[in-house]
Symmetry: C2
Subunit: 156 residues, 2 copies
């Protein structure tokens, strides 16, 4: 297909997280460019973080590779092993299954934008460094769990 009309791709806010985590994603929005272009094997999201916003909880994917390219502004990449300041033209990759958690934070006074690519696997397990919370996806169905495998019942 020809060029994707980015302005015509819906802006998504909110989060699939349950509360209180969903509210922590305030100031984040994204456009699903890959899906808009008909892709099914990987997602490509154009994410905007307002000042103070974060892109996610600090997480690790068990089955899906992830890659990000910074387009605008300044981001802090927070990982289990430390922090890295990133600027436009910087990129990072997170192979699945390492158990290493990461997230982007915008601590600057200006909006920041990045592209993020992730494999679209029907089965996935996402763990979170700072919360007793797991997202499990099996056969396309998503469930929230505690780390011990019990159904998620709120922060503990």
């Amino acid at each position: 297909m020809p060029r994707i009309d980015i302005e015509a791709v819906p802006i998504r806010t909110g989060s699939i997280y349950p509360e209180p985590y969903a509210s922590m994603m305030k100031g984040r929005s994204s456009r699903r460019l890959g899906a808009a272009g008909g892709l099914t094997q990987f997602g490509v999201n154009l994410v905007t973080l307002e000042p103070g916003a974060v892109a996610s909880l600090r997480h690790a994917h068990e089955r899906e590779d992830e890659f990000a390219w910074v387009l605008e502004g300044e981001l802090v990449l927070v990982e289990d092993t430390g922090e890295t300041i990133m600027h436009p033209g910087d990129c990072a990759a997170w192979p699945c299954g390492t158990g290493l958690h990461h997230r982007f934070e915008n601590r600057s006074a200006a909006p920041a934008r990045f592209l993020v690519v992730g494999t679209a696997s029907p089965d996935e397990r996402v763990s979170y460094a700072e919360h007793d919370f797991v997202i499990l996806r099996e056969g396309g169905e998503t469930r929230f769990l505690h780390r011990d495998g019990s159904p998620w019942s709120g922060p503990r």
Copy 2:
């Protein structure tokens, strides 16, 4: 892993194409960022096209989704259905299996750069609009064929 040191990622020139197609890729170079970051499920290449260079033969993927984001310069996206001029911040997606062919050309007087993402499938068939040439990959092994399935024996 933290930020990828792009300058440390080897610059690849040349082509997997046989001659005379390989020589047509003169002026194209790329860095395999995804592989440098340890990704195996999809590739992310940072491609530079010098003035007059093209990114590939005009091709279609049977099994691998593809996405591109323009970073610098001006590119012409050539597809079976027409041409589109693309600038930094423009993007396009090509779902696999449509049979629609595409390629980027740099007809400008300045270098152009783009990111291209493609699924890493062990099996793939790439067809070419303008040549009786097919690249077949099965179980990781690559073969060159004519469209009728016979081994490729040169342009005809």
